[in-house]
Amino acid sequence: MKTLKKRQDTTQVTAPEALKGTDKPIDTKRLPVDSQTGQPLPPRAQPGYYPGFSTLSQQTYWDGATRKTVLARVHNVPPIRFFTPDEARLMQAICDRIIPQDDRDEAHKISVLNYIDNRLYNRQIDGYRFEDMPPDHEAHRLGLQAIDAIAQFLYHQPFIDLGPLEQDTVLKSIHDGSPPAAHAIWEKMSVSRFWMLLVQDVVDAYYAHPYAWDEVGFGGPAYPRGYMRLENGKPEPWEVDERRYGWQAPATALSDTYEPIGAEAPGHHVQTPGQEGSH
């Protein structure tokens, strides 16, 4: 008779206070700039082209189960339990480059790190592992080591001490498929698959949040009230028309360009992780 092993609770590691400082000074070099004036745009509660749009304002129209889940996501951010404090700091810095949130004010920043940590802590996976990749939690740890090794190789400093431009350079080398260091790690792990794992985890956490839905103009949960205006991009009565504004990424960023993953890596053809959202 076999019984399932019950999960053992490891000791929890709480998030270092420095990660959530409310009176951190704003580094204007990290802010996006207005296209016309060239001035940095101050952080705001809701970036994006849908000012005044709020999916959370419609929560009474959602069914009970959905409302509970989404509100828990907003209010009950899980503590850091998988990453060590140093790893957490490094991972936070990386997440801040993969999805920068400098244009959001402190009260509306989305906790990405905690959700990645939660998934890795619970060993939740997406139902598959590539044969040239270690399990996700190992892959992330190896990735953190590799990123720090690249930072040391290029700039002789740990990643968290680098400026945004240097940090982007480190990460871009992985995106392009030609990291200049940590080759022992890349023997165990495909470069582009690690990159996709990393970005995928960050966007999973960011675009699951209602603030991100407001930013992109996504309608949010829709049960029991569905949609009535299906064509021509018309807004529902509670949705908002688009109001675009021109902005450029800060000069300290390398990520506002579009180049294929692994462009520098010979022979590797990229493939999307997963079938979600399609046929």
């Binding site: 069914d63 959905t66 989404v70 139902g127 592992r129 990460l171 996709m196 930013e215 959202g277 399609s278």
Partner: protein
């Protein structure tokens, strides 16, 4: 804050098991006694398993369905949220490799009663008659052991039971109409229609999809919320959970949910005697049955057969041909995304609502066999971000920028046919899962023909996108669906089951799910899987006496009648009358006979 009348919507406070806003399970589920032998055990209550369960229960047999996932209460368990819906998918470990590895998990394999039909987007085209004769006609792939005409009555039957909404005249393959009308278009459908009509490509709007256009009993009309792949809380999109399982329960079937079947047990006379499974508390238990039907889908079915290896069946059950796990197929699923100057808002309306099969059949002018379909898809933000990560190489501020533009983008999916290749296979890895069972390892490679189909399909779809007015078009490589791995065939040395899903090696072991498909066309396999299940059910019922006896190898009726009286209630008096069409092949055969 504004609220609906009478306040916010809350979870139901009663003890009923809900399957939608109105539909619920209204009968107490029968429970067989521990140790009691039943007639049929179905492993996996998914698309095929649900239909089989309903048919066998209605015919009066004692049947238990095992499902590794939960028996969903849609009001309480499902959320209208992309990130919160991962529990619908089979997220347990599988290793994937090969030169062009496939991905699994989200939207690929389902877990829970309803299986893949819970998360499918709902496209339900039929296979074409040519799909059943690919080897004879095009010299590639293999032939089915049955012709299209044998499956056609079941297509018609399932299209009524589901019901399928679609155009009154569907021109491709074997032309036919649908019992429910077409759906209104969303932004993506408009793009497909605009692009195709501009280029003179035939296209159908509003179907065929397994989504109600109009109510169906206790299942309301679709509310166009676009969360199909996250599970339809309305019950408008069909899953066997809402269409067949309630009727099965009403007729005395039992479903044991959260029970993972570990092994199929075989006696020394080479007959299955039942299954061994882990109950929800993790205790290993045995259930004896006279017949076992495996409906675990393309990965779990071969995995179970291989994991059930025992003396006499050292290579796994039903594997004398060596083809268990082989000839695995996914379809080419590249998504072509286009940015439009006006807003599209592709998150509204079901992702599946328009398609064209104009390029389905082999075109002799090309240097490849078979073809593809173009379908609408409607990725929600997280999925779209991942698509942009690959299609545009987006990250950082570039990702933020393209995501702020989400409402300007539209996505069309290519659905291309990959042929069955022996080296695309499922095997057992050394690693084990939480139950101590060896996990599946999948190896996959694209062959020349597949790559040519992909290239041409992406090219055509890009043309359609530009014709519809897109100013920027990108694409990302992807796969869709998953069939094969225990294919049917008339030659026992090259297949696992016969044309009814009965394994060649073991007379009371059946396989009935997507793994039996020998080829796949460029049609979504869902309808075909459910139709094959209804057909297998008729065979099982007609031969029930023999199968349940001590000599199950004696089959008396190899051409069983089609049972229309076993459909769920209300099947025939909802919807529109459809006119019977005779396929070209049948007309030719009739003409040949009359000569």
């Amino acid at each position: 804050m504004e609220t609906p009348i009478l306040g916010p919507f809350e979870e139901p406070e009663d003890h009923h098991h809900w399957l939608g806003p109105i539909q619920k399970i209204d009968t107490l589920m029968r429970r067989f006694k521990p140790g009691e032998e039943v007639d049929f055990v179905i492993v996996g209550v998914g698309s095929a398993g649900g239909v089989l369960l309903q048919r066998l229960a209605r015919a009066g047999f004692r049947v238990v369905g095992f499902e590794a996932g939960p028996f969903w209460d849609t009001e309480r368990d499902w959320v209208s949220d992309e990130a919160g819906s991962s529990k619908l998918y089979w997220n347990d470990l599988r290793i994937t490799g090969g030169p062009d590895p496939i991905t699994l998990g989200a939207n690929n394999s389902g877990k829970g009663v309803g299986g893949g039909s819970v998360h499918w987007a709902g496209f339900t085209p039929r296979f074409h008659p040519s799909d059943f004769r690919v080897y004879t006609e095009d010299g590639v792939g293999t032939d089915w052991p049955l012709p299209y005409e044998d499956l056609k009555p079941y297509y018609e039957l399932l299209e009524r039971e589901i019901p399928v909404s679609g155009p009154a005249y569907y021109p491709w393959g074997d032309p036919h109409g649908y019992p429910y009308g077409q759906h209104p278009l969303g932004g993506v459908g408009d793009v497909l229609i605009k692009g195709c009509t501009k280029l003179g490509i035939r296209v159908v709007a509003g179907g065929p999809v397994a989504i109600n256009e109009g109510s169906h009993g206790d299942r309301p009309h679709c509310i166009y919320r676009g969360f199909c792949i996250q599970g339809c809380k309305v019950g408008a999109k069909q899953s066997t959970l809402v269409s067949h399982v309630p009727d099965a329960i009403r007729h005395g079937a039992e479903i044991r949910d959260n029970c993972m079947v570990a092994r199929i047990n075989v006696n020394d006379r080479g007959r299955v005697t039942g299954v061994t499974y882990f109950d929800p508390d993790g205790n290993e238990t045995e259930q004896r049955a006279k017949v076992v039907i495996v409906s675990g889908y393309a990965i779990e079915t071969p995995r179970l057969l291989l994991n059930s290896a025992c003396p006499g069946f050292e290579n796994g059950l039903a594997n004398s041909s060596g083809t268990v796990g082989k000839y695995l197929m996914v379809q080419i699923g590249n998504v072509v995304l286009g940015r439009f100057p006006d807003l599209v808002r592709m998150y509204k309306a079901p992702p599946a609502h328009a398609l064209t099969e104009e390029f389905y059949e082999t075109d002799p002018r090309h240097d490849f066999a078979r073809g593809f379909a173009i379908q609408t898809v409607g990725p929600l933000p997280i999925a779209f971000a991942k698509q942009m990560m690959v299609a545009k190489g987006a990250w950082g501020w570039g990702m933020r920028r393209v995501m702020m533009d989400y409402n300007h983008w539209s996505a069309l999916g290519v659905l291309g046919e990959i042929l069955p290749w022996e080296d695309n296979r499922v095997e057992l890895a050394e690693e084990t899962d939480q139950f101590g069972l060896r996990v599946a390892k999948i190896t996959f490679r694209l062959h020349d023909n597949d790559k040519k189909v992909t290239q041409f399909g992406v090219k055509k779809t890009t043309e359609v996108m530009y014709a519809a007015g897109a100013e920027e078009v990108v694409q990302e490589p992807r796969y869709a669906h998953l069939v094969g791995g225990a294919r049917m065939g008339s030659d026992p040395s090259a297949s696992v089951t016969d044309k009814y899903g009965r394994t060649h090696d073991i007379p009371n072991l059946f396989i009935c799910d997507g793994s039996v498909l020998p080829t796949q066309g460029s049609a979504n396999p869902g309808l075909t899987i459910q139709s094959l299940a209804a057909r297998t059910a008729d065979y099982l019922i007609a031969n029930g006496a023999a199968l349940l006896s001590s000599h199950p190898e004696r089959v008396l009726d190899s051409a069983p009648p089609i049972r229309y009286n076993l459909s769920p209630p209300g099947t025939f008096w909802h919807g529109m009358p459809t006119f019977k069409t005779r396929s070209k092949a049948r007309k030719q055969a009739a003409r040949a006979r009359s000569r």
